[in-house]
Symmetry: C2
Subunit: 213 residues, 2 copies
Amino acid sequence: MLNGPATTGWREARHQSARQAIVDAAWELVHEEGLAALSIRDLAKRAGITTPTVYAYFESKQAIYDAMFGRAATEFSELMTGPFDDDDPARLLLSSVRRFVEFCMTDVARYQLLFQRTIPGFEPSAESYAPAVRALESARGRLAHNGVTEPRHLDLWTALLTGLVDQQVSNDPGGDRWTRLIDEAVAMFLAHCRPGPTAPVGTSRSPTRGARR
Amino acid sequence: MLNGPATTGWREARHQSARQAIVDAAWELVHEEGLAALSIRDLAKRAGITTPTVYAYFESKQAIYDAMFGRAATEFSELMTGPFDDDDPARLLLSSVRRFVEFCMTDVARYQLLFQRTIPGFEPSAESYAPAVRALESARGRLAHNGVTEPRHLDLWTALLTGLVDQQVSNDPGGDRWTRLIDEAVAMFLAHCRPGPTAPVGTSRSPTRGARR
DNA sequence: GTCTATAGCTGGATAGAC
DNA sequence: GTCTATCCAGCTATAGAC
């Protein structure tokens, strides 16, 4: 704790605080106007400063998106790695899914920024992305506690969950036409992936193409 | 065939032909630059005309997107309602999924326009949207031939498929990390939704909340 | 219908005084 | 760090001659 970036002087603290205030304003605007509609002018106005001042804290618009991504990823990670007051692995898994879906549905813009690639040239930096990886690791752990350890089943898992969320936000925003299928979807998944019946015999291996990694 | 909009005079035919040429150019550009990057200037240049001429054929930029959507939806409908040379319902269903995924993966921009809502203020007109409904109906029929008739299972089906495609295009473009899970996903789905075992006993009904529609 | 020319606006980003 | 003032680029859409 003695060296490293921890020794934040007063100025550095002020600086970070001002940055946070700008990111606050950015999220406000995005919630009102949509993720793609963010402009530096509007952002400055909302934050009570002027355009050049924004550039005193952020190198470019992309840097602002990156800071927004970082906050969203941190929120996501803290939510998904936080404690679950349940001992049964299956129920715990279900709780985690409900948290995930709730997280996505309560803030669609945040969902779009985190999980869809909708901003033209934007790619999150490694630092901003790191928390999201931690959240995925926690999901892997919860699946393992349910006897699901195959890597491809983790992929099937993410596809199933994002598919439910995606259909919900795209085709029934504010409703529950897909979210109410959560329990059934998880049951279907576990019934298929749990160890008991091992891999179904390869009925349709892709022809041609030699070894691939 | 005598009345209605069918009696296309020579001029009307020319007009439609010119419109198609503009939509051609629009798709070319979108494939190169991305869906959101389409601009009327570039479009005119690509089509070998000038900006005002574009407006002689389309009322606005949104109208161009709508025409693009209409073509995409028609392609989608014709592909999915076309003949499948297979008698076994399960294999036919699998073929349809492969067609669907292939359709999405071979043209990501088309997929985004059709299935994601990524253009700011754009909503397809009813006419442009109609073919997509037909395609969904055909999917319902194929599921019914596999004994899957519950409406909520159709929703689960669309969630599963779009989830696979979405993860594939978002996290492994050009690869097959999720598309290779298609067979397994369909097997999982059918095992769960086929009539045999009726609805699993409600293990986790949501507490509180009285009757809801 | 097609052009030249341009209106009218909004965007990201910067110069330079303080 | 914060401001005023502005540059410059891009956009959609239109006016008006031909």
